[in-house]
Amino acid sequence: MLKFVLLVNKQGQTRLSQYYEYVPVEERVTTEADIVRKCLSRNEESCSFMEYKNFKVVFRRYASLYFIVGVDNSENELSILEFIHNIVETFDRYFESVCELDVSPLHTVVYASKISIGF
């Protein structure tokens, strides 16, 4: 079960966030900051998975953008990595070679395309 999807840039600014469960706004901000800090401090060598409180976090870096997905403990992490790659490919095809700057002002369009994937 997906809990949330975040797109964060290298400076730690959230470019896109989608939550699939209700989480109050203050809690969202603190959790996001915490997770982002941990992800940014990982280097190339380390693992793409992390445990945070009671759920798992899967992330991958594409150029200057970090794709972070939070899942519960029963999910297959490797297939979530595939899923992240799938999202990136979809964006790529939609925006014709996407980069971070495309994501931020056009976030409504991004949302719309996410709806069309069905999540």
């Binding site: 706004v25 060598e45 998975f49 490797l78 949302y111 069905g118």
Partner: protein, 547 residues
């Protein structure tokens, strides 16, 4: 409106936009509707009353001509459905499930899955349509249909029985996926539709858990998937991983389990970190089921302890402790103790507790046991819990022959470092009890006597010659150091008192030390000091030489 959503995403309050979303949803233009639903999904939740107002709009939209509008409404319903809304609109959703347009069916299925999770009672509404969903050709519909069925099974275990009848369908589906040739629209790096494969495997896992017959039916196909999947890329790995998880959970035959553990073994030696992490994780789960198979990979696991990545190290550590038994405890503990030096603080207390437990259960002889405990104490002393101090003391007092030996070691450790409280407490206690052994330099060496290997490993320990004054010096240092906790000071005072009957020449000095605490601020210390002074002055005739 779009900007408002962006602001909300960053975490600032944006409640004032909610009425606007309603107006946008009601407008006939598609882009407005899209924005309105998006806003609704993000800004509204069950606690607001406004969401009920959307219900009517949604109902109308679900009958709309344009499929995208219908899709929008379904999506929104899925995200923010509350109990009343679900009950109202589930009938509509069910009708849409039967529609011929795959786009709509897909969305309706996902929406139904959400509703089922929210309101489990409504499940019966959707059960009849699932059969049709599972025999569709369109992969997307299949995927969402399986999602729906999985959701139902999670929510209501009784439905498992009902869905077991569909197992042949699922098996056939998987077979088609593997056997079928290249199909461009579902292909990911050479494997056709891995997402569908993974979902089907997961559903099979739920259906097969605890049920002999279903598990038997799955054995063949699982073996086939395991052997045929190409694992050069991550995609293949994820499918194999899911297969292994399924094999572990159902009542599979032993040959299949061996296959699964072999796959995990291959993962462990893979160069990709993620795969290794996943393998370690799964091995932890299988240790309880199949102990011996995991033992074979012990050396690889111990190597993982030296990895630079934190998550892998933690998993390897847990796995190592799970694997400990009488034969391999020495090798494992050696690695673990080496790891203790470089571990982060949060690991240290975990390691300390577990090492002690493991050592107690499986240590080959007493001397090794005490050695290990002392090493752990010295390296991770400040991270240990208070209760462990008592356990260690109890253990030390039971091993009669080694009193001299461990007192020596503890004394040496004490002279080096008096900041780790648990270590200091144990050391002080030992010095107090067996101070005479320390001074006379007696070290018993008969237990586990002269195992060549052991001596070489641990190196010869030198027997330290100390005088009574030196011992008292150290104790005084501890008493006066600001790093000592009140409990430590109490231990020290007790030890000094005990030494008064074990040491022969330092009586005046001990008397002076004890009486100096007679007017200390700490009640406990003061009381003890005064009582001990009373023993000195009034009951000196009871003093006998300690043998």
């Amino acid at each position: 409106m779009a900007k408002l959503l962006y602001i909300h995403m960053l975490g600032y309050p944006a409640h004032f936009g909610q009425m606007e979303t309603l107006k946008l949803i009601a407008s006939p233009r598609f882009s407005d509707k899209r924005l309105g639903y998006l806003g609704a999904m993000m800004l509204l939740d069950e606690r607001q009353d406004i969401h009920i107002l959307i219900t009517n709009c949604m109902k109308n939209d679900m009958h709309h001509q344009v499929q995208y509008v219908v899709g929008l409404a379904l999506c929104a319903l899925g995200s923010i459905c509350s109990e009343e809304m679900s009950r109202d609109l589930s009938g509509e959703v069910e009708k849409l499930l039967k529609s011929s347009n795959p786009y709509i069916v897909r969305k309706a299925a996902l929406c139904a899955a959400r509703i089922v999770r929210k309101v489990p009672d409504l499940m019966e509404v959707f059960v009849p349509t699932t059969r049709q969903l599972l025999s569709e050709k369109n992969h997307a519909v299949l995927l969402t249909g399986i999602c729906l069925v999985t959701e139902m099974c999670t929510v209501n275990p009784d439905s498992l029985q009902h869905f077991r009848r569909f197992l042949p369908n699922l098996v056939r589906m998987l077979k088609n996926l593997i056997m079928a040739g290249y199909s461009p629209e579902h292909d990911v790096h050479g494997i056709s539709d891995p997402f569908l494969q993974v979902r089907v495997l997961r559903l099979m896992r739920m259906l097969g858990k605890g049920d002999e017959d279903t598990s038997e039916m799955m054995n063949d196909i699982l073996a086939q998937v395991a052997t045929n999947t190409d694992s050069s890329k991550n995609v293949g790995h994820s499918i194999l991983y899911e297969t292994v998880l399924t094999i572990m959970d159902i009542q599979s035959e032993s040959g299949l389990r061996v296959l699964a553990v072999n796959i995990l073994g291959r993962f462990l030696s893979n160069s990709d970190r993620n795969v290794r992490y996943v393998a370690l994780n799964t091995l932890l789960r299988t240790v309880s089921v199949d102990y011996n198979a995991v033992q074979r990979h012990r050396s690889t696991i111990l190597d993982c302890l030296k990895e630079s990545d934190v998550s892998i190290r933690r998993r390897a550590l847990e796995l190592s402790f799970a694997l400990v038994n009488k034969n391999n405890i020495r090798t494992i503990m050696k690695e673990v103790l080496a790891f203790l030096d470089v571990a982060e603080p949060e690991f240290k207390s975990f390691i300390a507790t577990n090492s002690l437990v493991a050592a107690e259960k499986h240590s080959p002889n007493k001397r090794w046991h005490i050695d290990t405990v002392l090493t752990v104490l010295i390296k991770a002393g400040s991270y240990m819990q208070e209760e462990l101090v008592f356990t260690i003391i109890a253990m030390l007092s039971q091993t009669d022959q080694l009193h001299g030996y461990h007192t020596q070691r503890l004394y040496v450790a004490l002279t080096n470092d008096i900041s780790q409280q648990p270590l200091v407490q144990v050391a002080i206690w030992a010095v107090g009890e067996y101070g005479d052994l320390l001074v006379t330099g007696q070290v018993e060496n008969e237990i586990g006597g002269g195992e060549e290997e052991e001596e070489e490993e641990e190196g010869r320990r030198e027997v330290v010659q100390v005088t009574e004054d030196e011992v008292l010096d150290v104790l005084e240092r501890v008493l006066q150091s600001p790093q000592s906790s009140p409990a430590t000071r109490q231990y020290t005072l007790n030890s000094v008192m005990k030494l008064s009957s074990r040491f022969s020449t330092s009586l005046p000095r001990i008397k002076a030390m004890v009486s100096s605490y007679g007017n200390n601020m700490d009640m406990e210390l003061q009381q003890r000091a005064v009582e001990y002074c009373a023993i000195f002055s009034k009951h000196d005739n009871m003093r006998t030489e300690h043998k």
